[in-house]
């Protein structure tokens, strides 16, 4: 009888270990994938900017410096992305934030000239810029949410016991300059039922 109980106990523990291990690996891969998605969106932004700038160059002759600042920030970001290794998140993030700043300045300029907005190209430019910026921030948001979930999981007991075996290390969160976007939501993974 005693040996049966022992056997059942061992089976339960092994099953739990497998599922905890797999859960951690799955979250790890999701985190990696979410990080890749940010890259995809950043690349999209880098490819898009030259086209957009060309499209509005004529209409925005009087705001040349703003456009030039965007182009410059974009080239800088492309360089940093090409040169930096996978760990240079801080550098990439700085260059991209500079680009975001230049782009938002461009948006403000467009807002300032209602006539400009009425020009077909510029209206489209505005929509494309909004969408591009949104895509990047949503890709980052997904990464940060997934990474937070992964970090919480590997720190929480008892999954933390499997963290070493699954080679789990805390994923770095993407830092955001914008104050409004700074707060990382608290992810509650506990399974205790709520009223």
């Amino acid at each position: 009888m005693g040996s049966w109980i022992l056997l059942i106990l061992v089976v339960v523990v092994v099953l739990w270990a497998i599922s905890a291990y797999n859960g951690l690996i799955s979250l790890k891969n999701q985190t990696t994938n979410a990080f890749k998605q940010i890259d995809v969106q950043l690349k999209r932004r880098h490819d898009l900017i030259p086209n957009l700038v060309n499209a509005v160059k004529g209409a925005m002759d009087f705001e040349k410096s703003t456009l030039e600042a965007v182009v410059q920030a974009r080239n800088q970001a492309v360089q940093v992305n090409a040169a930096a290794g996978p760990d240079a998140m801080k550098q990439i993030s700085q260059a991209e934030n500079a680009l975001s700043g230049a782009l938002s300045k461009l948006m403000v300029v467009v807002e300032r000239y209602p006539d400009l907005k009425a020009t077909g190209n510029v209206g489209q430019l505005q929509e494309e810029l909004t969408s591009t910026e949104n895509r990047i921030s949503f890709a980052r948001q997904l990464y940060n949410d997934t990474a937070t979930q992964y970090n919480t999981k590997q720190q929480q007991f008892p999954a933390s016991l499997m963290a070493g075996l699954a080679n789990a290390a805390a994923a770095q969160l993407w830092e955001i300059d914008d104050q409004a976007d700074k707060a990382v939501p608290q992810v509650d993974l506990s399974t205790k039922p709520k009223a």
Partner: protein, 349 residues
């Protein structure tokens, strides 16, 4: 239904958890009730024939429960394989493959953004030529999903509000809600079908049994009580299963609202969108009852959905819009408070 009362406190993640737990509980109740209807009958019949003489009938194989399960599985499979196309066809939606106007481009952009936020592939995008603002999602899994919005929605909503509505629909897709609701509808359907079909069979079968001279006294008191409860269950089954299915549907609506808040981090925009949908009086002409449970708001404008605390609470597919707005505003408030700035209505560029 006091558990459904709105508390503006919890964050969107807490609301998501709460709604997931409640759905699980409801689905477990649903499955147990369904099992009682099927295998419960087999068990009673087994008890009733237990003490029969060896040459008489012994009910040992639970054919009734298995039959019920097979028919339900078949209806559900039929629903999966034809549902999405049928719904899209019945609404007269046309697909946006090559966005032509600025409006269509914006819609495609918004859907792509939200697909990124949700971490799912971009669903196929459809527009329904209907002046009433509404939207629905269909498709059995995120890889084969469709999202449809009405022209009225595009005309009425700001970019942020459109984003909130699209995010709500992607929340349904990510949660496999279409699959869940199709399955529940199949179970409700099979209950109706079998009750109507076997009602006759049963009464016929019983009178046949009596003519064989089987005395009522042979049945134990337990069997009689179980049988009465079981027959009562069948009489009430259509109402009970429908109520459970609708309860699940309402929980999924709240959950999709909370998912929308997670994807956009802007619950106030969805609250505003719901307010606009609520106050718009354009009649829905293309969205028929078949697609109603998929929509962001009940397109049939049934009064059931508008009155908290009445019959609407148990038989409506959607929670009252007022309650949804209150909860979304609560999330917006909690978010603004966490970020240390109020008021909460700071739209995202």
């Amino acid at each position: 239904m006091s558990g459904e009362s709105a508390t503006p406190g919890p964050t969107l993640f807490q609301q998501q958890d709460a709604n997931r737990h409640r759905t699980t509980l409801l689905v477990v109740c649903f499955v147990l009730f369904f099992a009682w209807l099927g295998f419960g009958g087999d068990y009673i019949y087994y008890l009733a024939t237990l003490h029969n003489l060896p040459y008489e009938t012994h009910h040992t194989f639970p054919w009734f429960g298995i039959l019920l399960t097979v028919v339900a599985a078949w209806i559900a499979w039929y629903g999966y394989s034809t549902g999405p196309e049928k719904v899209l066809w019945s609404t007269g939606a046309h697909e946006i493959t090559d966005p032509a106007t600025d409006q269509e481009k914006q819609l495609v952009n918004v859907v792509e953004e939200m697909a990124i936020a949700a971490g799912i592939p971009r669903p196929r995008i459809w527009i329904v030529d209907d002046p009433a603002p509404n939207a629905f999602a269909t498709g059995t899994d995120p890889q084969h999903a469709h999202i449809a919005v009405t022209q009225g929605l595009l005309d009425l909503m700001s970019r942020d509000e459109l984003q909130g509505v699209v995010a709500h629909e992607l929340g349904h897709i990510k949660n496999f809600d279409v699959r869940l609701m199709t399955t529940l509808a199949a179970l409700v359907g099979v209950v109706l079908l079998i009750r109507d079909g076997t009602g006759r069979f049963f009464w016929g079968g019983r009178s046949g049994g009596r003519s064989r001279g089987k005395g009522e006294g042979d049945l134990g008191a337990l069997v009689v009580v179980l049988l009465v409860i079981w027959i009562l269950s069948w009489i009430l089954a259509p109402i009970i299963t429908q109520m459970l299915a609708m309860a699940v549907s309402r929980k999924r609506e709240y959950l999709a609202d909370a998912m929308s808040a997670q994807f956009t981090r802007n619950p106030t925009a969805l609250a505003n969108a719901l307010q606009k949908i609520e106050t718009s009086d354009a009649p829905a002409t293309h969205l028929k009852a078949g697609a109603a449970h998929l929509c962001i708001c009940d397109p049939l404008d049934r009064k059931l959905n508008d009155h908290p605390g009445t019959l609407g609470d148990v038989m409506a597919s959607h929670p009252p819009i007022e309650m949804r707005i209150i909860r979304l505003k609560g999330m917006g408030y909690a978010q603004a408070k966490a970020e240390g700035h109020l008021p909460p209505d700071t739209p995202r560029a």
